[in-house]
């Protein structure tokens, strides 16, 4: 059901470091808020029911399916999407590793995968292959068979460790 206009509510979020204030319908999901209201289309929609992971973003640092999150329920939260990763043309080490290992095919799953992988690497600088596979098991990819994605994440972890003080 579409909600009546009167059900709109004000929300305040930090999205990729920027403060955003909007008045939105109470049934607006974070995914559609990002894509339609903010025009940030990097985050993809593959199922809208929490089964594919294409819409994964970091919500207060944790990976979530943004299609399952109502914006009004997370008023005040901090959201990071794929658009937050690179600094202009400078890719992050994780993105570079994806590029080097051909971990991107059609690229539809990539934005969500990058966010899941980013979360993993922040928590676990030296993940095993099984830990990597488990961490991305909610991100379905139909193109790659995950081989090159797993390699890329391993490589990114190694690059980060090499740089760490």
């Amino acid at each position: 059901m579409t909600l009546p206009e009167s059900d709109k509510q004000p929300v305040r979020l930090r999205v990729n470091g920027e403060s955003i204030e909007r008045v939105i319908p109470a049934d607006r999901t974070l995914l559609l808020f990002l894509r339609d209201d903010l025009g940030m289309t990097g985050t993809k929609c593959g199922c809208e029911i929490g089964e594919c992971g294409a819409c994964t973003v970091l919500l207060d640092g944790n990976p979530v399916c943004s299609c399952l999150v109502l914006v009004v329920a997370v008023d005040g939260a901090d959201v990071l999407t794929v658009e937050s990763l690179a600094d202009g043309d400078n890719l992050t080490d994780l993105q570079e590793a994806f590029l080097d290992h051909d971990a991107v095919h059609c690229g539809f799953c990539t934005p969500g995968l990058l966010m899941s992988a980013e979360f993993l690497l922040q928590r676990n600088p030296e993940p095993t292959e099984l830990e990597i596979r488990t961490a991305i098991s909610g991100n379905l990819c139909r193109c790659t068979g995950y081989v090159q994605i797993v390699e890329a994440i391993q490589d990114a972890a190694a690059r980060r460790r090499a740089k760490a003080p």
């Binding site: 894509r35 993809k44 199922c47 051909d102 991107v104 059609c106 539809f108 090159q148």
Partner: protein, 783 residues
Amino acid sequence: MTTKFIGKRVKRNEDPRLLTGQAQFVDDVEIPGMLHAAFLRSDYAHARLLSIDVSEARKRAGVVAVFTAEDMGDDWQPGPPLVSPPPTVKDVIFHSRRQVPLVKDKVRHAGEAIAVVIAESRYIAEDAVEDILVEFEPLEAVIDLEKGLEAGSPLVHDDLESNLAAHLFQKKGDYEAAREKADLVIARRIVVDRGAAAAMENRGIVTDWDKKSQHLTVWDTTQAPIPIRNGLVARLGLSEHKVRVIAPFIGGGFGPKMMMFYPEEMLIPWVSMKLNRPIKWIEDRRENFYATTQERGQIHDVEIALSKDGHILGLKDIFLHDTGAYDPYGLTTPLNTQCHVMGPYDIKNFTSEVSVVFTNKTLVTPVRGAGRPQGIYIIERLLDIAARELGIDLIAIRKRNLIPPDAFPYEHEIIDQAFAPLVLDSGNYWPVMEKALEMVGYDQFIEYEQPRLRAEGKYVGIGVIPFLESTGVGPYEGARVTVEASGKINVATGIGTQGQGHFTSFAQIVAEQLGVAVCDVRIVTGDTAEFHWGTGTFASRGAVVAGNAIHASASIVRQKVLKLASKILKTPEEELELEDGLVRVIDIPHKSISLGELALLANPLRGAVQPGTEPGLEATAYFGPQYGATAFGTHAMILEIDPETMMLEIKRYITVEDCGTVLNPLILEGQIHGGVSMGIGNAYYEKLHFDENGQLLNASFADYLIPSATELPRIEVGHVETQSPLNELGAKGVGEAGTLPVPALFAQAIENALNNRDLEILETPLSPNRLYELLRPNEEKSR
């Protein structure tokens, strides 16, 4: 041939955009004033449409329009056939019944569209869909292929006498005579069931009609933008240059996005013109399960005749092929099955008869593999059974029957999916198989490891399956290569791209000819405004057919560059080289001119040119192969089964491919990994369950299990190269190869692991549950 770029592990040009969320997919297109569409789809698989009332929907605030079949008037017409039937075979039967834009009289599969709502937002459109009242008279559904052909079966198409959509008979040699001479004849029924392509991106269309300029722009998740443009032009009565179809970044194709026209694909542009507004429709995942085409359902009654030393004397295959409710894609898929059921083997006597059956299920069109995995499953299962019965080793029986290297080109005397004689252009099969055996450590495993692990109570098994794949079929593709004044190269080709790395592998081909960096070659695919001749990306043909067209154009441009540079540098062409974006005199490297300067000189603004001079450094060329190139490969696997749960763990997975010249091993390996992963899904996790009413019982990713990272193994890839003589690059296709042998490989390895003489797997897809069921009666028997 020494190459600089071809065959190198070049990183992909397109990735930075995809990695940063900047790549534009269809759903990312936003146009001011855009409206949104949602469809009312049938819950019934088979039902007469008695009445439909959209009045409430039209009244809902924010709804702009609602259309039913009736509202379309004379514009309501079935979609055009995609593959023009029938092929030129004697006595072929083909009843063409094409999908309709909106159901008029009768629903023929669950999910068929009945009405479309156009509203200010998708939310409103979907709510308004709920407002529509439809009265149905449910009919008995045709689900089972055999029952569907029985007299008295309900009919999917009432105007036909039966549900037979097509019938095709092909033969080579004399099977019956061969059978007479055989020491062993094995007859079996083998069943293959349906799966979904399940690209991560659902289908979608955005249309923008500009009434003033009479210009229609369509963004479409299609693998074939040019045929879509052509079809729209024909149906909407517009001129070609007024319709631009763009297939931007596509989130996976795998065949179903090659289907055309989907009802929505014709309808949304039509509505856009009617309402004079931009419109977006994006399929949701549930619609994708019901309304996007599927494949693989076949029932084979097959017979193989062998001598006692394991030589195949003949093969006879009578099979049913499920085409779903309509058959716009002609006979492509069953023809592929016919052409692959002989596998890579030298079979002299062959009979194949296919009956294509209409059912009340989603339409069937090729899905990655396209009829080939079924053929390979059949022949490989039969060889496994034969080997067992004859007491011959599984590898030996295959080696004995492989087409020998001196037999190419090998003529099969039947026609292929392009209705052309099936000819295998080239190959050297045994070394590929041998390499796979080596990589997996076959002998070592059989002799030492397996006995040791079995003694420990482990159920470990090995499988090795060779396969071939017809690829790179015609008719043709073209490309235009242009040297720009900046010195960068612009390449336009008509095919679409769905993640195969074309922006890079095609750039490598051009870089090779013109001596520029790969990143300085800009490839445009899938935009009819940039190049408007071509067919599409299907049948593992992109690299072969478009690749060779690009190669041909780039070669012509190279000639033009050399000719002009020779004049300007006053040096014979033979003494020039193209390097680093320059044309240089080989022995005097500082004597050079850049490609950019040459491009400017080739397009003078004043003065006179010699008669017949073409401006610019540009060429357009086409490539159409005489027939398809046939690739070969072998997969090998070691797995372990948990006898309690029937869950399995893949310990090793090896593929060895011979797809001719490798353009980019990095991309090739990725393509193979992806194919294998889909094959693993096909083999052990994915099956579409339709109930007897034609309801799909598992229409979501929670119930239809495509493999996630935890199910899939590491995949080791080996290469062998036998170049195709059919094209300059020597390339063969590989896009579908990874999926083909996997179900056969699973069946073989599972039988090997369980080592239970009563277990004979004659179906695919399997699943842990199904495997458990297959074993149960045996257990009871042995008790």
